[in-house]
Amino acid sequence: MILNYILYSLIFPGLLFTLVLGLVVGWVERKVSARVQFRVGPPFLQNFYDIFKLFGKETILIKNSPYVIFLLAPIIAFATVALSSTILGTATFFHSGIGGDLILIIYLLVIYSVCVILGASSTGNIYSSTGASREIKLLLSDELAFILVALIAIIKSGYQINLTGIISYQASNGAIIGSLSGIIAFIIGILVIQAKMTLQPFDIPEAETEIVDGTFIEYSGPLLAFWKMAHYMMFVLLPMLLIVLFLGGIKLTVWGIIAGILKYLVIVVIIILIKNTNPRVRIDSALNFFWKYASPIAFVGVILAILGL
């Protein structure tokens, strides 16, 4: 049993699987972006080379800074993403959550953002602190919409917070996206993913041309590699979460797996296209957008879900 858990979390739905898939999807992201922009794009293994190379580089620490936080932040962030993908993966592929539910995943994703904020503000760099303050604002703006989106799935599946419960409800009653509130939740969910992964138009904390990669500016070597890996694993985790919550998960038959891959690719391509067709918004516009439009619409979705639409 314990051996099973270790295998789950380190090999199959957990760390290794998510990491490799994430790096491959990272390549898809770079390649599609490049083709949209009339560029050639990187070779297939480029992300693997990048990570490999970062592990061979020197780690530069800052004098007079609380470097324990600086060191631990990327590793904890990486671990939380790996853990949440294990929970999500076991629910998707084995229909046996290893003791976690939707609320745990929401918490773990907040811990990831908190790690970003802690790591960034521990450096004392002005760009980094600006990035951290923007990350806090972004977290405050997208979190409510994210919880409401999850709430719609919970209500639609008959008030279940268990991921396997949500999947088995959809297996018998059809995917949640088939309903009006499901469609609303899916659209808001995609925008929330954009903000959670800090992709355009919400790449405000990293804004390369403004604050020089903001939150990650002082990271180098293996620590930066951990951030990068966590980022690419989010590319697997968040679309998979949407699939589990609204698109009926992935069935373990041949057609089910093909359909699952298609669902996943569609979500990823939508994310990439949004990324490539929008400029970066200001942080106040992002706050406006989530509090004035996205969250109220998601709230309407919640009411619709309660009414059974």
């Binding site: 922009q37 009339f38 041309t209 403004e210 604050i211 929008n278 200001r282 942080i283």
Partner: protein, 392 residues
């Protein structure tokens, strides 16, 4: 709230070149901005004094990689102004053609970079793709994609091949079509509009007070264009000066897009004239008499000014260059204060600053060998005073 100091530069992804902006913020709001120029040690004016007049034209071409025709244009204007040298009509048309091609590619370059600065990399790549045919056209006409080396005192060095007229026309049509598409995209995209409209407003009064030039001034409703006001070749063509009233980043974008379309029109006028205007392309100038001359030209970024003094030898004894960004950079004081940090950066980029154009001073040291950076303006004024005394 405490003021926080954000150093922007000298090396920063926003700036292609070394430049330092000292930004003071309260939270995200900018309360003060200070600029420091002088990070690039060029020494072009000094080198020019050791070159012959013809060589100095090639030298000033290297001042800027983007507006590499504007400086030679102003430089030959200055040299020709010493002796009132007339140039053949065909040479004038060729000068206009190259100048306008350069304006198109420079404005396209800015539009792309502006896209990059607001995080819209797709616009960046697309616009630079549209810019490519213009560079190839330049190569067909002058032999080089950039640094055309076409200008000589008294004319141009290389004739325009009339057989190229059918090649140029479709390229211009294509560019014009893309520009119209770009205006449509920006008008339809609410996110882009919210990012550009009403941001970094430079009022007309401020534009006049800070001596802004070029698209920066014209976007604020200040009607100024050397091509129309003091033409040396442009009297042959109709120049329609684009002026917009608002002075924000959006208007600066609109001015540049419309100027690209206007440049296409000017080039078409040249192309119409070429079959009719035959004859020499250079008026052979043997020597330059003692005296001084000024040359002005409307570079893509604004008025570029060259002053040349000759003592009758084959070398200039003084060559002074003032690039448009030198006048435009101080307008940040008027346009940036009070904006959020994210908007300041696009406002900084919106005047299309070209630092390597602006800076040609060698390192300025005081008597103790320390770097002087605060009173460059006073030094510049002192130098002008000194030159004035020498002349009188």
């Amino acid at each position: 709230m405490d003021k926080c100091r954000i150093p922007l530069g000298p090396f920063h992804p926003l700036l292609e070149e070394a430049e330092f902006f000292d930004i003071k913020v309260e939270g995200e709001k900018v309360v003060d901005i200070d600029m420091e120029i002088g990070w690039m040690h060029r020494g072009h004016e000094k080198i020019s004094e050791s070159k012959t007049f013809t060589q100095s034209i090639f030298l000033v071409e290297r001042i800027c990689g983007i507006c590499s025709t504007s400086h030679p244009f102003a430089c030959v204007n200055a040299i020709e102004d010493i002796d009132n040298i007339e140039i053949p009509e065909r040479a004038k048309y060729i000068r206009i053609l190259i100048g306008e091609l350069e304006r198109i590619h420079s404005h396209l370059l800015w539009i792309g970079l502006a896209g990059h600065f607001i995080g819209y990399d797709t616009v960046w790549m697309w616009v630079w793709k549209y810019r490519e045919p213009i560079l190839q056209l330049s190569e067909k006409i002058t032999g080089n994609r950039n640094h055309y080396a076409m200008f000589r005192v008294g004319g141009v060095s290389r004739d325009f091949d009339n057989a190229l007229i059918p090649v140029v026309n479709p390229v211009l049509d294509e560019v014009q079509k893309k520009m119209e598409m770009l205006v449509g995209v920006v008008n339809d995209d609410p996110v882009l509009k919210s990012r550009l409209k009403g941001v970094g407003v430079l009022t007309k009064e401020d534009a006049i007070d800070y001596c802004a030039v070029g698209p920066t001034a014209r976007a604020s409703g200040y009607d100024i264009d050397v091509r129309r006001d003091d033409p040396t070749a442009y009297e042959l063509v109709d120049v329609n000066v684009i002026v917009t009233p608002n002075g924000d980043v959006f208007d600066k974008f609109v001015v540049r897009v419309l100027e690209v379309i206007e440049s296409c029109k000017i080039i078409r006028q040249c192309l119409k004239a070429f079959p009719k205007v035959q004859g020499p392309i250079i008026n052979n100038v043997k020597e330059i008499s003692p005296g001084e001359g000024i040359g002005r030209y409307e570079a893509p970024r604004g008025e570029v000014f060259h002053y040349i003094r000759s003592d009758g030898s084959n070398r200039p004894v003084r060559h002074k260059v003032r690039a448009p960004s030198y006048s435009n950079i101080p307008t940040y004081k008027a346009s940036c204060i009070g904006l959020p940090l994210a908007d300041v950066l696009i406002t900084l980029a919106a005047v299309d600053p070209c630092y390597c154009c602006t800076e040609r001073s060698v390192r300025v040291l005081d008597n103790n060998g320390k770097r002087l950076n605060k009173n460059l303006l006073a030094l510049s004024r002192g130098k002008t005073e000194r030159i004035r005394k020498e002349i009188l």
